[in-house]
Amino acid sequence: MEKKRRVITLLSIPSIWLLLFFVLPFTIMLLFSIRETTFSPIFPPTLSHYIEFLTTPVYLRLLLSSAWIAFVTAVITILLAYPLAYYLIFHGGKHRLALLSFLILPAWTSYLLRVLAWKVILGSNGIINTFLLSLGLIDEGMPIFLYSQSAVIITLVYVWIPYAALPIFSTLERIDIKLIEASQDLGASPLRTFLRVTLPLSTPGLVSAFFFVFIPSLGEWVTPSLVGGADGIMYGNLVQTQFLRGLNWPMGTVMSTVLLLIVSVFTMLFNRHVTMKEMSALA
């Protein structure tokens, strides 16, 4: 009986979907990672690429610098998205959902278009340079805003703000306004109330937002390739090279697998944290 039920569960559509589109590709990836070269057979398998990944400093260094870029992006995004969401919730009144839609709207347009828009803004003939020129602060357009790590961060922050604003918005919305009133009633000024009540209670939203931004940014390659220049290369770019021009699929899958592992660890941490905090916040 037990076995029969297991089989049925396995055959249910979500299971099949998961197996077909997640487990299977992942297995293929793993099988590639143990090959000698892109076109070698699977046997004899080799761990040489894993070893190379761990022993050649460039890979780990790039992973770390990409993690740093992702981290900075996530922090800045939250710092910008939080006041926006806060304003919507506490001062938006009945218009707040409509205003939220405006905030989210850019996310509905093409991701590539938005990145390219930043290429224009940051470029030597773009808005920033034109503005600085008009102020007389510089003599000629500087392409330096574009093609740098900063450009990558700026662009990614812009892309991610709508996605970060959503969990913050929803968490803030759930905060009982009576708690804010109670705090003020007990003598706490609005600033103190924010620091002691609102901010701690919005932690689940902040954590969600952080991971919403950090995890995808870690593997980013489109934005760095368009606006990153020589300095803004991220981990994802290297993976792309391995798969395309480099014709080194085993290395590419090794790099991807490592990234997947790291992201899984973060996701598990995130799940654990959110569950506990959510429970106490909803009390």
Binding site: T27, I28, L31, P143, G229, A230, I233, L244, R245, L247
Partner: protein, 354 residues
């Protein structure tokens, strides 16, 4: 779930995965050409169209050589392929192409002997050169404080932040080797290490790596970069057309040159093989090649065809004396798999490194 169920599942999926990863694409019995996107115009193979009316060849396109090679190597069925010289040896080493019986081709003798030699392995002709072009530095003569004269000038700090190079492992490798006076095709381990260091030293001068030649043209036109390497002659033509003040350098170390050509799949036989020879002869036809050269601002590998090129192009490409031009150009030689791996590894570490 019990451990045995998990184990069974794992086995099933491993087998599935093995099967799927071994598959390639396949189109049986047809005449398929693996070609660069855009090269399929009938103007380049008119004689074939006359011989096989209403039977146009099927094309499968690729964007770069690595993609073409990956397709071929993983079993994609094709009849004719058009890769560039660096990869020719790899195709031969992996048994992907068959020797060409040049006696079946009426237009074979027109081809430049030096280029033909590149496609010859172990006394057999595997690839026929068709199109070629320069790679050089494209310079905004009105923006640079001082005109560069050599590949080595890419490293000159006075151009810092205004240089862009092509995102290609091989191109970077060869350029760096030239500036260090190393033969890129006979490099020792110490040589390769030196090349890697040299490329790392270039990074501070770079604004970015360009991937698309329109991107390169745009950056030069806007003045964001002053020197673009390795630019092809079509970019030069485009920018001149837009009225931008650019110069296409003749560096001290010499211009680089790429050449691409046709090969026949090892698996092509029978009627398909006849079609292959007919097609090759058609593209090697003088008029076909001239049509192509005039369209793309590239050189063509045939003496007669070169004479038929537009005078403007002849002047642009310094082709008044084509043989001299070819002799002054450093063409990309073929490389082995081992060499390719080394070059890739260097580029990976350069791009990822600080």
């Amino acid at each position: 779930m019990k451990l045995t169920s998990v184990f069974h599942l794992a086995v099933v999926f491993t087998l599935l995965a093995l099967m799927l990863s071994a598959c390639g694409g396949a189109a049986d019995g047809e005449f398929v050409i693996l070609e660069w996107a855009g090269y399929e115009s009938e103007a380049y193979w008119e004689p074939y169209a006359e011989q096989y009316p209403d039977q146009p060849p099927s094309y499968s396109f690729f964007g770069d050589d690595a993609e073409a090679f990956a397709k071929a190597q993983s079993g994609f069925e094709f009849s004719v392929i058009h890769p560039c010289s660096s990869w020719w040896q790899l195709y031969v080493e992996n048994g992907l192409v068959q020797p060409i019986d040049t006696s079946r081709l009426s237009n074979f003798d027109n081809l430049y002997p030096d280029l033909v030699a590149l496609g010859n392995f172990n006394g057999q002709q595997y690839f026929l050169p068709w199109d070629w072009g320069y790679e050089s530095m494209l310079v905004r003569s009105d923006l640079v404080p001082e005109m560069p004269t050599a590949w080595a000038d890419l490293w000159d700090p006075q151009y810092a932040g205004h240089v862009s190079i092509f995102d290609s492992s091989e191109v970077a490798y060869v350029v760096a080797a030239l500036t260090l006076d190393i033969d890129p095709y006979n490099a020792s381990d110490a040589d390769s290490e030196a090349i890697k260091q040299k490329l790392l030293e270039l990074k501070p001068n770079l604004l970015n790596y360009w991937v698309d030649y329109t991107e390169l043209s745009q950056m030069l036109a806007q003045g964001d970069i002053w020197i673009g390497a390795n630019a092809w002659s079509d970019s030069y033509a485009i920018l001149l057309d837009e009225g931008v003040e650019v110069e296409y350098l003749q560096p001290e170390e010499g211009r680089l040159g790429w050449v691409c050509g046709f090969g026949i799949s090892a698996n092509t036989t029978g009627a398909s093989l006849d079609k292959a020879y007919a097609y090759l002869d058609a593209v090697l036809d003088t008029q076909s090649m001239a049509n192509f050269g005039n369209e793309y601002y590239y050189g063509v590998a045939s003496e007669e065809a070169t004479k038929l090129l537009d005078p403007y192009i002849i002047e642009l490409m310094d082709l008044e004396d084509p043989v001299a031009a070819l002799n002054n150009t450093f063409f990309y030689q073929t490389i082995s798999e081992d060499q390719r791996v080394v070059i890739e590894q260097i580029w990976t570490e350069v791009k990822a490194g600080q």
